[in-house]
Amino acid sequence: MKRYGNGALGVLAFVTVGLLGSLLLRDGVAYGFFCLKPCLGGSNTGARCTDDSDCPGGQCAPYCLHWTQGSATLDSFLGTPTMTLLNGTLTWDENAYNVAQDWNAAGTPFHYTVDLEGTLNEPCGSPGAAHACPNSGPVNDNPVVFRSSFCGLGFNDIVAQTNNCYDIGTGAMLNAPVFVNSTAPWNAYDGDIIFTADGEALNDIRRVVLHEFGHVLGLDHPDDHGQSVSAIMNKHESDLDRLQSDDLGGIRSLYSQSSASGSGGPAGSNINSCQLDAHGGAPRGWILWWLPAIAGVRVRRWCRKLP
């Protein structure tokens, strides 16, 4: 009697853990990558959105920002550092080149080309022939530069930013210069984030640019959408320094179907795929929390068979 009672107590404990986990995640949404979408119309026109509720008076675009030609050329002008880079590379540009190849290795038709010896077209300036958008430079020109400000505006606490310039009617990317804050401490290294003597993070050019190039190709932050998923594209970082499966799922969703079908960019059914759960719909946290309950019952049955 006592044995059965305590056994039930054990199962109850497991179920409680499962329920606790479920309750903790009850407000969670599907996990997975998100693409950049703008509000169309209303007070937030052009601002990033997840759904129509982000766009009072308007709607969230039915498309993702994308490169219609399925490729983009990055012109890296990051140059050469004065210090030794911890990951053994010799230049900042080499790191920019390497992370572009990381995205290329995703196996999609989308392709980054990195030009290391190009001519810099000044990205800052008013819209016109020389600037597809304000402060963006010519169409298809995507310089990656160190700057102490963003076209005269202070970075404040921003370490690096991508200025996505796009056609508001179609979501077609026109260009996307990347500005890296030269006043922040930089190096290039793998592994956990390194902190300087005063407690400030030593920025790793490799992982920061890897993240920014994800924005250039049209990916948003998964953790901006109430999710907890392992991804370089998260705005919050753990100690990840390489692309994760969720990041790769993002670029594949954006470019594989459309390019394969020849439609030239995300459209039709592909649009929704970048909003949907990359892992089949159910938040994975549920499984983690219910696993001990399921396994516990089996263990209990097995243990009861022991002499």
Partner: protein, 199 residues
């Protein structure tokens, strides 16, 4: 108690210990934004206000840059000075048939109530300390009939340990707006010292 249930209970406890931190742990640090802990948020802010977003407009700033202007009304000023309303300027918006978007920029909706830590409003890309780190949502908790604090990702803020704000996906554990205001007041009354060079 028999051996089997004890094993199960211990396993349950171990599982909870192993998995719970993963759910409640705050984000480590920001990737493309400098990390700002709570004392830094307070110290670096020129203004800290509680306000409701009553207008969002787009246009150009004095330099011609596309900008989004977010106006807060019904203000409670916790640090610095502000008039009846406070309008913050964020880089980005529409310019004719094209638009510029900086993916890391916070976005706002009409009617939302926030606590914002403001610095460099006007001459910077984003006028919030630590970008999204300097923006907290005020949500009315119907169950508790009080206003509670959530971070920019709508994760409840549950308290302060050392210099770090704590967060957890337990809505019932969210601190109230009054508690948050008191935390800010305490920080202002007992500043944690000068900011470190270069930070």
């Amino acid at each position: 108690m028999s051996r089997v249930p004890r094993f199960l209970l211990l396993a349950t406890l171990a599982w909870t210990v192993l998995t719970l931190p993963g759910l409640v742990a705050p984000p480590a640090l920001a990737m493309v934004v400098m990390q700002r802990d709570f004392p830094e948020l307070v110290a670096r802010a020129e203004q800290v206000v509680v306000g409701t977003v009553t207008a969002i407009t787009q246009g150009q700033d004095e330099s011609g840059a596309p900008s989004t202007f977010v106006t807060f009304s019904d203000l409670t000023v916790l640090k610095g000075d502000a008039g009846a309303t406070l309008t913050l300027k964020f880089y980005g918006g529409v310019a004719g048939n094209v638009a510029v978007m900086i993916p890391d920029m916070p976005t706002f909706t009409l009617g939302e109530r926030d606590v914002v830590f403001v610095a460099g409003n006007g001459p910077t890309v984003c006028p919030l300390v630590g970008v999204w780190q300097g923006r907290f949502h005020v949500r009315h908790d119907e169950t508790r009939n009080t206003d509670v604090i959530e971070d920019s990702d709508h994760t409840p803020v549950t308290g302060l340990v050392g210099r770090k704000l704590q967060r957890a996906p337990l809505r019932a554990a969210a601190i109230t707006l009054d508690v948050f205001r008191q935390m800010i007041a305490d920080e202002l009354a007992q500043p944690s010292g000068p900011l470190m060079p270069g930070r």
